[in-house]
Each structure stands twice: as C-alpha cells, then as structure tokens.
Assembly symmetry: C2
Homo-oligomer: 383 residues x 2
Amino acid sequence: MISMNKEIILNELINISILISSKSTLNDLLDTVLKKARDITNSDAGSLYLKEGNRLIFLITQNDTLKDINKNFKSFPIYIDKHSIAGYAAFTGDIIRIDDVYNIPKEYPFSFNIEFDQNNNYKSTSMLTIPMKDNEKEVIGVLQLINAKDSEEKIVTYSNEIEKIIESFASIAAVAIKNVQLKDSIKRAHLETIYRLSVAAEYKDTDTGTHIKRMSRYSEVIARNMGFDSKYCELLLYASPLHDIGKLGIPDAILTKPAKLDPDEWDMMKKHTTMGYEILKDSSEHLIKFAASIALSHHERYDGNGYPNRLKGENIPVEGRIVALADVFDALATKRPYKEPWPLEKILDLIQVERDKQFDSNVIEAFFKGLDEILDIQSRLSD
Amino acid sequence: MISMNKEIILNELINISILISSKSTLNDLLDTVLKKARDITNSDAGSLYLKEGNRLIFLITQNDTLKDINKNFKSFPIYIDKHSIAGYAAFTGDIIRIDDVYNIPKEYPFSFNIEFDQNNNYKSTSMLTIPMKDNEKEVIGVLQLINAKDSEEKIVTYSNEIEKIIESFASIAAVAIKNVQLKDSIKRAHLETIYRLSVAAEYKDTDTGTHIKRMSRYSEVIARNMGFDSKYCELLLYASPLHDIGKLGIPDAILTKPAKLDPDEWDMMKKHTTMGYEILKDSSEHLIKFAASIALSHHERYDGNGYPNRLKGENIPVEGRIVALADVFDALATKRPYKEPWPLEKILDLIQVERDKQFDSNVIEAFFKGLDEILDIQSRLSD
C-alpha cells in the first residue's frame, strides 16, 4: 500500500505537519502526535514518552482494542539506558523495529516488559519504537507503536518504508513539542514573575503569596463556569494577581497600621484601585491593560455602592465582578493576624445574601458551579 | 524537472518544514522562508510581507541579480485591496500567477508597480504571489516570487506543479510565523510586566521607568560585547530590571528622604540587596533565580569593598559585575531631583579610574566596545 501511494502519504505528512505545528497546548499536541503516528502506520496501539533529565516520562497511551486504557493506566518513568526498549531507543537514537516482542533474541540488551499485556489482557506483537529527534538531532522523547494492522485488521509487521516515513514524522513532532514546551516555559516564567512581584509589592514580603495564587485561580474557575473561552480564562488567571498593585502607592503607615483606619486613612487606602489603574493603564500589552481594568474595578459593588466610581451592575467590567467575589471569598476563608478564618458555610451564606448587592448573581452562580474545584485549589494552596 | 522528482521535492519539503519550525527569531525565520521559497521555485528574486491590520507590511526582499538590495530598499505598506498584486492575493486568498508582469490584461483589477524595476534597473517578468494562510485559513502574509529560472538560468514561467508545492510550503511557513509571533508576544508581555512592576515598586510610580529600561539594555550590550551568547544576553535583559526590587522592603521614610541618610538609615538602605535576593531566590524559574543573584550582587565592588558580602573579583557573579556598571553609568548620566547629569566625558573618566576598583576591567572593556550602541539607547530612551 505504502509504495503505491508514497506521494499521497508525503502530501498527507505535510498536512499533518501543518496541523501539528498549529496545536497550542501540550496535551492536545501529544494526543494528535500519537493519533497521527498510529494513523500513518495503521497501529492498534501506541504510547508517547518525553525526556526529562535521564529518564523518559510516560505521558499518554492510546489503544483501539482497549478503548479506556488512558484513564486507568499509571504513569511510570523509564531510565534512558539499554535495558528497556524505549530506553534503548532514547539512549542510542536508533529506531527499533521488532516483529514479535515475545521473540526478542536473548542476545539483545533490552527485553519486553510483559506487565502491561498481563494486566490488561492484551497481546502485543509487532512494535516500532522511534526516538523523536529535534532539529539538532537531540532526542526529546520516544514514540512507541504497537501492532500494525493490514487492511483486514490482521496484525502484521512494520515495513521499511513505514519506518522511513515515521522517522520524518517524529522529527516534525519533536520540533513542534519543543516549540510548545518553550512557549509554556516563557508563560510559566511570566506568571511566576507576576505572582512574586505582586506578593512582594502588596505585603512587603510578609505574606506567602498564596492568597494571590488562590484568588487568581478561583477567578479562572469562575470565568470558565460562566462560559468564557480558554483564552479569556487564561488572561484572567495571569492578570488578576495584579489587582492590588496600587497598594505600592499607599504609605506604609496606613498599609501596615495595626489598628482600624480612621476615615481619612480609609479614603487614602481606597485609592489603591485608581493608583493600580494608573500604574498599568497605558501599557501596549493587552494583559496589562486588562489588569488595569481589574485593579480599578474590583472594589465596585453590583448595587452601585462600591468604590472608586460607584459603578452599577453591568457597567462594572465583568473581570472586576469576578475578581471581587474571588478576592472576598479568599479573604474570609483565610486566617489573618487579626481574625480567624470563617467557616465555609458562613461564607457561602454571606455570598448568597450579597446576591445583587455586593456581587453579580451570574458570578455567584458560576462560583457555586465551580465550588468543588475552588475548594480543591484552596486545600492544595493553603498557607 | 518537478514532475520527475516529485517524491524528492515532497521529502525536501518535509525537511524544510522541520528547519523552518526550528527557527526561534522572526528575522531568521522570514529570511529562511523566503530563501527556501526561492530555492523550491528557482526564483531570481522575492519579497515577503506580513499582515498588520488592513495592510501588508513589507519586510524583506532577496534578489540574486541585485545582491545588496535588502539594505537599500525602503519599507512601505500595501493596502489589502484589489489594486496591487500582493494586496489582491491577501484580499482574495488566491494565488496569483503572472507570466509577464508587463503584459497584465487591462481588465484585471490590479496592476504592476514598476517603481522597483525602474529604481533598480531590474526587469521583472514572471511572478508568483502566494497568500500565506494559517491552519484556520486566515491570511497572515504574502510571499511574492519573481523570475523563475530554468537550469540554464533563462527566465521562464511558473508551472502548475510549482504552484501546488508552494501552496503547501506557504501554509507551513504561515504556521511557523504565527508560532514565533505568539512566542514573541508572550515574551514582550513578560518583559513589559517586569518593567512596569519594577518601576512601580522602586519609585512608587514617580519615575518614568526609563532608568530601568536603559540600564537593562546597557547590561545586554555589555554582555554581548563580552562574548556571551544570545540566550545569556536575553536572560540578563529580562532579569536585570529586578535588581532593586528589594527596595520594596525599605521603609518609605528612608526611600524618599529628601536629605542625606544617616549611618543607620544607610545600613537599612543597603539591605535592599539581601531583601531582593530573599524575594526572588527560591523560584523554580531560572530567570527569577538569576535576578536574585543580580539583586544580591549589584553593589559589590571588584576590589572587595562593596556590599552586602564584600565579595571580591571573580567571586562576584558576572551578572552582578555587569549590572553594577550599567546601573552607575545611567545614574550619573541622568538628571535627578538633587543633581544635574554629569557630562559624558567625566563619566567615562570615572569609569576608567574605577578599573579594578569599583568595576571589573573586562566589563569596562565591553562597555567601551559597545559605547556607540549604549549612547544610541540613551538618546532613544531619554526621560
């Protein structure tokens, strides 16, 4: 089949290359890479590993015979050495083609791990294991394909031609994976910088920063449950930590006063909203402008009695309405030097009471829809 | 030629796809895209435009006959409408193949702009203009190829087959360009966030932030002239704005005191180095850890009389030695409320005098090597 339609397959490979390069999240990309590798080779099953230090981290498996395998399959690392098949491929950089994994010659350094077959009542036979090499010929991971099938679904061996095509494919995949990893790492650095600086700015380094981490994640959960797309939710996640950045402009004496603020001091304190807006507003970056809007509006109230602009209802930007609830929820749920945490029930009651008063009812609904996830974040990021 | 070796060309296209996807800077990527497009089609010349709003921005041109063209050629925008050839291709999404640009039928909506040929004494004949479409079929730019040549260097027309291959190529290029643009935009957002927050943190929003922008760029120039690779130079550019972040921990009364600090206050002020280190040190991100090192070491002196650790010579991390000079140069060269800027000559004399005292002589040498560039940055980013 391959030899007859080589031109078609090469053309298809170019389309796959475009598709793969367009993927923006690592999970989506890895799923597509494995799926397309199986399509090209007509494989019943396959797994994908990425290199991390001196090990291969198992990430996904797909199996047409065992449909639900990915959900139940446990992740385990494989050392990059000559003992396992995937390890050997990563170690040497060679493609390993095996016609029957149960008949690997004894003199070979690697052996087949029968655990998976035994646990899942599966029978692996032919196997093609391909190191994914980037443009600089460095191995970044391993693709493992199992049980090639012919047009009648009979298990066959992998051909020489398939091996060559999948080698090109693996390089395309490697470069795409590296690109997404690089982008993710810049994004992580960005997020971490925002967190660190926000925390430092707000609390003069006395807080652990978990408040800011929690409230930004709560905000993201609420936005998602309101139906916003992933781009908006991510924007909110990144921008909301900056909501109190204007506190940089508030004198230390007010910011850290151990007693209650007098009315003048309180008026000054309220200015952190407009000061934050001033710091961030004239940025050319969308994320920073968005953060400016949050800084300005996160103390407005749905009934119009908030500050600084006494905006009412839908006149308050939705990002401000979301952060308002996320911020208050976390403040109430957290121990502070001057107060114990409120019990969850009491907080939820207050939120309900403040429906259409302090908070937007749409935001409240999304908050309750996402409550399990919010409580999960709370317990993972506790002080 | 094409029909005989279609398989070879498709294979080559896959290799080109891997090469293009590996490019990390936009300039390098665009150069490679245009070069490979000309290779595939054996074109004497070509240009590349990217879409920006409703216009095409001319970015590069290559011309084998006119070798030095790119340096002299002026950039101009083309509206995305039916009047120009590139505009038409972007407007309609169609590839436009013209056998002789001087014989375009009058009924066609677009016409050939003869200005380039006239100004450069060049003769354009055959032309292939390809809209670059991303995975969502959106046009992100236009490739324009001019004067296909046969194996005897005679100018010929573009073939049907070439048109199909270049269409695939243009999609590969479009996705790669979009990826680099996306990565660049995240990087820009990151850099801008650091600048904005550093400025806000350090100066309580009274400074314009140009000091931080200038000194980080000076640092980058110095590092480059010391022979560090582009990765290190970029790291320094991004991390150095955080050098004074520890000032967040210094009481307002000291930070903004209009008179000279007394010895106790001065001791407190010096702590901004260790406080900055404490804020940044335990990050999982390399960039932030690197910034921690700069925060800690940028007031050390080469002769061991600096603070906080009185480190000497090579015991001071090189990033601290670089930022020390960049920071002092900009402070002296800038007007402050309490002082006029020093004349350039006087600053350069001081730097020479401080060789092996305050500053590392290797850093000083790199500073002088890059002085033209530093002065250029200074004039572009003046207060």
